[in-house]
Symmetry: C2
Subunit: 232 residues, 2 copies
C-alpha cells in the first residue's frame, strides 16, 4: 500500500516554499502543492490547528504537520539521508543552510520590490559577501562537486537552488548574458549547480505541476496579488 | 585523557552567542568564552580561515570550527541527545527553534537601540504573536513541562532562554513587577522556564565566568562599544 503524497500548503508561487520543494524532491518524498486562493481558505487552515504559527508554508505528511520553511527542509533531509554521514557533517550542513538563509533574502523580496534592478543590486552584494565563502567550502571539502562529504547532502541541494534562482533573477532583469557573467567567477558552484540540476529528481521537479516559474513580470505581480488576497 | 574544552569565539557579551551557551551547558559540553577585544584579533581570526563567513560566533571543538549561532545550537543538541527520540520529534524541535528565531529579534537589538521602551514594545508584539503558539505546543504535547516528547530537548532549553531574557528586558526597563506581569498569562511557559533554569547545568552556567549580565544600561553600552571596536 502506497502512503498518500505529502501536502505542501502555500500560496500560488515560489516564495518561502521553493527550497522545501527542492529538498523534498532530492529526498524522493512525493508531494503536491496545495495553493491557497482566498482569505477564507487561510482562515479555515488556521482554525484547523494545523499551522503552528498561523503561517504557511506547512507540510502535512504522515499525520504530522510541520511549519517553518527550513524545518520542512531539514525534515526532508533527515528522511532522505541528506544530512551527512555523521554529526560533524550534519553540523557543516547546518552551517551552510544558515549561510544560505543569510544570503538569500533578496530572492524572497524580488516580486515585492518595485524595481528589479534595485533587488539585483542587493543580490549582487550578497553574492560578493557569501559566494566566495561557499566556493572556499567546496574547495576545502576536496570532493567536488559536493560541499560536505563525498555524496549529496541538503547543503548541495540548497546551494544549487540559490545559484539557480539567482541566475533567473539576473536573466529576468538584465538578460541571459548577465546571468552567465554573474556566475563566471564561481567555477565550483557552477559545477555543483550543474550536478544537482542534472539529477533526475530535480529534472522531474522542474517538469512537474509543483514547479512555478521565477516571479518576474506578470508571474511576480500575480503571485503578490495572490499573497495579499490570502492574507487580507 | 580529558579532551580540551570547546572554545566559543564572540564579543564580550551575550548577543548571538547566548542561545549557544544555554545549549552547550544543557548538553553538558564544557566550553569557555573567547572574547574579542580588538579589530586586530578579529582580523587574525579571519585570516586563520576558521570563520566560514568571517563572522562570529564560532565554536571550535574537537578540531572542528562551526559558524552560525543556530548551527552551534543544533551541534550541541545533537551531541547532547537533546534533539528528540525520533525524526518526528527532531522536526518538531526544528519548528520551535525557527519560531524562537522569529520571536527573538528584539532581544538581539536591545543594547543597540536608543530607547529601551521602544525595544520592549517590539518584544511585547512578539510575545502576543508567538507566545500563545508556544503555550499551545506545550499543551498539545501533553507531557509538561516539556514542549516536545517526554524528556528535555533543545526546544525546551531555548524556550526557557527566551522567557529568561525577555523577563530580564522587562525588569531592566520597567522594574521586576512588569516582568512578573508579562509572564502571568503563560503558565506552561513559566513551568518550563522554572524547570530548565533549575537544572544543575543551567545553574552552573549562570554562576560561571561564561555568564554575562543582561545588556541593559552600562553593560549594554560597554558591549556595543566592544562590538564596534572589534568590527571597526
Amino acid at each position: 500500500m502506497q502512503s498518500e503524497a505529502a501536502k505542501l500548503y502555500y500560496f500560488h508561487g515560489r516564495g518561502r516554499s521553493q527550497q522545501s520543494r527542492w529538498a523534498l524532491s532530492a529526498a524522493k518524498i512525493p508531494f503536491t502543492n496545495v495553493c491557497l486562493s482566498s482569505s477564507r481558505e487561510f482562515e479555515e487552515l488556521c482554525a484547523s490547528g494545523k499551522l503552528t504559527y498561523n503561517q504557511v508554508p506547512m507540510l502535512e505528511a504522515g499525520g504530522q504537520c510541520i511549519s517553518q520553511s527550513m524545518a520542512i527542509v531539514r525534515h526532508a533531509a533527515r528522511l532522505g539521508s541528506l544530512f551527512g554521514r555523521d554529526s560533524q557533517e550534519s553540523s557543516r550542513c547546518d552551517e551552510i543552510l544558515d549561510g544560505i538563509t543569510d544570503a538569500r533574502g533578496a530572492i524572497i523580496s524580488f516580486p515585492f520590490m518595485d524595481d528589479p534592478h534595485e533587488c539585483c543590486m542587493r543580490l549582487q552584494q550578497s553574492i560578493q559577501r557569501f559566494w566566495p565563502c561557499f566556493e572556499a567550502l567546496i574547495e576545502r571539502n576536496a570532493s567536488p562537486p559536493y560541499v560536505v562529504g563525498a555524496s549529496l547532502t541538503v547543503a548541495d541541494v540548497l546551494l544549487a537552488e540559490l545559484v539557480d534562482s539567482t541566475s533567473e533573477a539576473f536573466a529576468a532583469t538584465f538578460g541571459p548574458e548577465a546571468a552567465v557573467g554573474m556566475l563566471a567567477p564561481f567555477s565550483k558552484l557552477r559545477a555543483l549547480h550543474q550536478h544537482v540540476t542534472g539529477l533526475p529528481e530535480i529534472q522531474a521537479l522542474k517538469n512537474s505541476d509543483n514547479w512555478f516559474p521565477f516571479p518576474a513580470g506578470k508571474v511576480g505581480a500575480d503571485y503578490v496579488r495572490n499573497v495579499r488576497t490570502v492574507l487580507s
